[in-house]
C-alpha cells in the first residue's frame, strides 16, 4: 500500500499565479500591459505626434517646420477646390469598390457555403485565398499592362469593335475591386456558414420563395459579415496611393499626402486627417452594426 504524502509544492508558477488570484484587476493589467502599451503609446502616440503637425506651418523661405498653432493648412484644404475634389473622388471610388466587391463576392461565397461539397469547399477556399499571396505590386503592374494600349484588354475587345477603359478612374475602380475581392469573399463565406441550414429550410417550408428567403432570412443574418468585409475594401481603397499612381493620372488622398511629406509635412498631416476621420466614423458605424464579430 503506497501512501504518498501530498507535499504542497509551491512552484514559482504557482506563487505567481497566487499573486493574481482574487485580483482580477491585476490580471487584466498584466495581460493588457503589452498590447495596450504597444498600441496606445507606440501607435496612437506616433499618430498623435504626426497629427499635431497638422496645426503647424512651413516657413516659406527655409522650408523649416514652424511649430506654432495655426489653422492655415485647414484653410488651404477648404478653400482650394482641388483638395475637395480629390477627397470626394477617393471616398466615392472606395464606396464603389465596396459595393462592386459585395456584389461579386456574394454569389461565390454563397456557392461555397451552401452548395459546394466538402472537397469543393476546400478547393474554392484555397482558390480564393491564393491570389492574396501573389504580390500586390505585381498584380497592379500586370493590370497596368493589361489596360495599356497594346495590352490584353484592348486585344480581346478589338474583335468586338470595343476598347478598354485605358487609364483613369475606371481603371482604378477596376483594379481595386480586383485586389480586395478575397477580403470580401471570406467574411461573407464565414457569415453564411453561420446561417444554419435549418433556418433556411424552415423558411422554405413556410412557403417563402428563394428570393424572399434570401431577402428576409439570409441577408439580415449575413449583413454584419458583409459590413466586416467592407471595412477592408473601403479602408484599403481609401488609403492606397500606389494603384492610382500606376493606372491613373488622377490623384487620391494618399498621393497628395505622399507628395507633400517632404516639403510640407503640416499640410500632409492635415490632409491625412480626412481618411482618418472617415475611417474612424466608418468603424464606429460598423461596430454598431455588429461587424466586429465577423472580421
Amino acid at each position: 500500500m503506497a501512501t504518498e504524502a501530498v507535499v504542497e509544492r509551491h512552484s514559482a508558477g504557482r506563487r505567481l499565479a497566487g499573486l493574481f488570484h482574487g485580483r482580477p484587476r491585476l490580471r487584466v493589467g498584466a495581460l493588457l500591459a503589452g498590447p495596450v502599451g504597444w498600441l496606445v503609446i507606440g501607435y496612437l502616440g506616433s499618430l498623435a505626434v504626426l497629427l499635431v503637425a497638422a496645426f503647424w506651418t512651413v516657413d516659406p523661405l527655409s522650408g523649416e517646420v514652424v511649430r506654432g498653432l495655426s489653422l492655415e493648412n485647414f484653410e488651404t484644404l477648404f478653400n482650394e477646390p482641388v483638395y475637395r475634389d480629390i477627397a470626394a473622388r477617393t471616398i466615392l471610388i472606395a464606396a464603389l469598390v465596396t459595393v462592386t466587391d459585395a456584389l461579386l463576392a456574394f454569389p461565390i461565397a454563397f456557392y461555397m457555403a451552401k452548395l459546394a461539397s466538402r472537397r469543393g469547399k476546400a478547393i474554392l477556399v484555397v482558390a480564393v485565398l491564393l491570389p492574396l499571396w501573389s504580390s500586390y505590386l505585381v498584380k497592379v503592374y500586370t493590370w497596368r499592362t493589361m489596360l495599356s494600349s497594346d495590352g490584353v484588354l484592348n486585344w480581346a475587345l478589338h474583335p468586338l469593335g470595343l476598347h478598354g477603359p485605358g487609364f483613369g478612374n475606371v481603371a482604378v475602380w477596376l483594379v481595386m475591386s480586383y485586389l480586395w475581392l478575397p477580403y470580401m469573399i471570406l467574411p461573407i463565406y464565414a457569415g453564411l456558414e453561420r446561417v444554419p441550414d435549418s433556418l433556411i429550410s424552415a423558411s422554405e417550408d413556410l412557403g417563402a420563395s428563394p428570393v424572399t428567403t434570401f431577402r428576409r432570412v439570409i441577408l439580415p443574418l449575413v449583413f454584419p459579415a458583409v459590413v466586416a468585409g467592407s471595412i477592408f475594401t473601403f479602408a484599403l481603397t481609401l488609403g492606397d496611393y500606389i494603384t492610382p499612381r500606376l493606372v491613373s493620372n488622377n490623384q487620391f488622398i494618399g498621393n497628395v499626402v505622399f507628395n507633400n511629406i517632404v516639403n510640407n509635412l503640416p499640410l500632409a498631416s492635415a490632409f491625412a486627417l480626412v481618411p482618418i476621420v472617415v475611417m474612424v466614423a466608418y468603424l464606429l458605424v460598423a461596430r454598431r452594426l455588429g461587424a466586429f464579430e465577423h472580421i
Binding site: 495596450v36 503609446i41 516659406p60 495599356s148 507628395n259 511629406i261 517632404v262
Partner: protein, 395 residues
C-alpha cells in the same frame, strides 16, 4: 464575474492618456532638422568599406562602379530616385552618404542642413572641371562649395517617329492646346512641380508680353499664366512620368507618343529598336524655345557614415576616363574638361556642347524657386506655391 474593476482600471487608462500627452510634448520639443556638423573634412582618411548613394537613373552603373569598388574597397549601394523631391526626402532620413542633386534640390538640402560643405582640395580632379560649372548658384552657397559637378543636360522633346508627323520643332506639340490636341492621351509630361518651368519657358517665347526672364522666378501673373497653360494641357496628357523606366515602357507600349524626357530613355528606346526621334543634335537637341535642363552636383550628406568613401567617389566620378564613360552612357555633357579626350566618340563633346557656355544660356537649369526674385522684389512664387499649384494642375 462582478465588475469590481471600475476605478483602478479607469486610473490605468488615465495613466496611459498621460503618457500619450507626454509623447506629444516630446514631439513639440524634440526632433527637427538633421544635425549638421557644417564642417569640411580636412584630411582624407581610409575608406570605410561601404557607400550608400542616391542618384538619377543611369548615373551609377556597374561599368564604372565595379572598378571603383575594386580600387577603393568601398562597396556601393545605390538607390535610384525619379524626382528631386524623392531625393530630398531620402537625404533627410540620414541613411545615405551622398546624392547627385539637381538645382531644385541643392538649395533645399543646404538650407535644411542635410548636406555638408565639400573641401574641393581633397578632390584632385576638381581642378580641371569646366569653369562655367564652378561657383554656380546651385552648387556654391555664400562662397562655400557644397558639391562636385557631375554633368549637365537639357530635357528633351522626344516623339514616336511613326506616329508623330511632321517632326516637331517646338514645344507647341505638347503645350499649345490646338496643336497638342492631335495627340490627346498620348502626351507624356514630367510628374514634378518643376515642370511648371517648362510652361514658363514656352510662354517666354510665345507670350513675351508677360516678361518672363527666368522661368524659376515668376511673379503672380506669370505664374498663373504658366499654371493655366498646364491646366489646359492636363486633359491631353496620357501619363505623368516620374520613373524613367516607366516612361520607357509607356513609349514601347504605345501609351505615349510624344513627351519630355532625358537622353537616358531616348537611348534605351533606340536600343530596343523603337521608332523614336528627338530634336537633332545640330539644334543642340533643343526645340526652338530652348528647354529646361539640369546641372547635377554630387553632395555629401551631413549624416554620412562613410564620408571618406564619398570623397573617393566624388573624385572618381570626375576622373577623365570615368566622366567620359558616364557622359556617353547617359547622354549628357561631361563636367570634366579632360573627359573630352577620352570619349569613344571623338565628336561627343562638340555634339553635346560641353565646352560651349553660350549654348547653355538657352538651357534653364533646374533651380529651387524662392520668393526673392533677385531683382529687388520678393513677390516671386516659392517652391511651396509650385507644389500646391502642381497638385491643382494634376487634380
Amino acid at each position: 464575474m462582478k465588475n469590481q474593476d471600475a476605478h483602478p482600471v479607469r486610473a490605468a487608462w488615465l495613466v496611459v492618456a498621460g503618457l500619450l500627452a507626454f509623447m506629444l510634448l516630446l514631439a513639440g520639443c524634440g526632433g527637427g532638422g538633421g544635425d549638421s556638423s557644417g564642417e569640411e573634412l580636412d584630411k582624407l582618411g581610409k575608406g570605410e568599406g561601404q557607400l550608400n548613394l542616391i542618384s538619377w537613373a543611369g548615373y551609377v552603373e556597374p561599368e564604372w562602379v565595379k572598378p571603383f569598388e575594386q580600387k577603393t574597397g568601398c562597396k556601393v549601394d545605390n538607390k535610384v530616385a525619379g524626382t528631386s523631391d524623392e531625393m530630398v526626402q531620402l537625404m533627410r532620413s540620414g541613411q545615405y552618404d551622398g546624392v547627385s542633386a539637381s538645382g531644385n534640390a541643392t538649395a533645399r538640402l543646404v538650407d535644411g542642413g542635410d548636406v555638408d560643405p565639400v573641401n574641393v582640395g581633397l578632390v584632385p580632379n576638381y581642378k580641371t572641371i569646366f569653369s562655367d560649372l564652378k561657383n554656380q548658384p546651385y552648387n556654391t552657397f555664400d562662397g562655400t562649395h557644397y558639391g562636385i559637378p557631375h554633368g549637365r543636360g537639357a530635357n528633351l522633346l522626344m516623339w514616336n517617329s511613326d506616329d508623330v508627323k511632321p517632326a516637331p520643332t517646338s514645344w507647341d506639340v505638347m503645350l499649345d492646346p490646338k496643336v497638342a490636341a492631335k495627340y490627346k492621351g498620348k502626351i507624356s509630361a514630367y510628374d514634378d512641380p518643376i515642370y511648371i518651368a517648362d510652361a514658363a519657358v514656352y510662354l517666354k517665347t510665345h507670350q513675351s508680353e508677360l516678361g518672363i526672364e527666368d522661368p524659376y522666378e515668376l511673379n503672380e501673373e506669370q505664374f498663373e499664366a504658366a499654371v493655366d497653360l498646364l491646366k489646359e494641357q492636363r486633359p491631353l496628357v496620357g501619363e505623368y512620368w516620374s520613373d524613367a523606366a516607366k516612361q520607357i515602357s509607356a513609349f514601347s507600349n504605345g501609351d505615349s507618343e510624344v513627351g519630355t524626357t532625358w537622353q537616358y530613355q531616348y537611348f534605351a528606346l533606340q536600343e530596343e529598336g523603337e521608332p523614336v526621334a528627338a530634336s537633332p543634335a545640330s539644334q543642340g537637341f533643343l526645340p526652338k524655345e530652348g528647354a529646361t535642363g539640369w546641372s547635377d552636383t554630387w553632395m555629401l550628406s551631413s549624416e554620412a557614415k562613410h564620408p571618406n568613401c564619398m570623397y573617393m567617389w566624388m573624385d572618381w566620378i570626375v576622373e577623365p576616363k570615368v566622366n567620359a564613360e558616364v557622359a556617353e552612357y547617359f547622354g549628357e555633357a561631361p563636367a570634366q574638361s579632360l573627359a573630352c579626350e577620352q570619349t569613344a566618340d571623338k565628336e561627343f563633346c562638340t555634339k553635346y556642347h560641353a565646352d560651349n557656355p553660350g549654348f547653355w544660356k538657352r538651357v534653364y537649369y533646374w533651380e529651387t524657386p524662392v520668393a526673392d526674385c533677385g531683382n529687388g522684389s520678393s513677390d516671386c512664387k516659392d517652391y511651396n506655391d509650385w507644389v500646391q499649384a502642381w497638385t491643382s494642375i494634376k487634380g
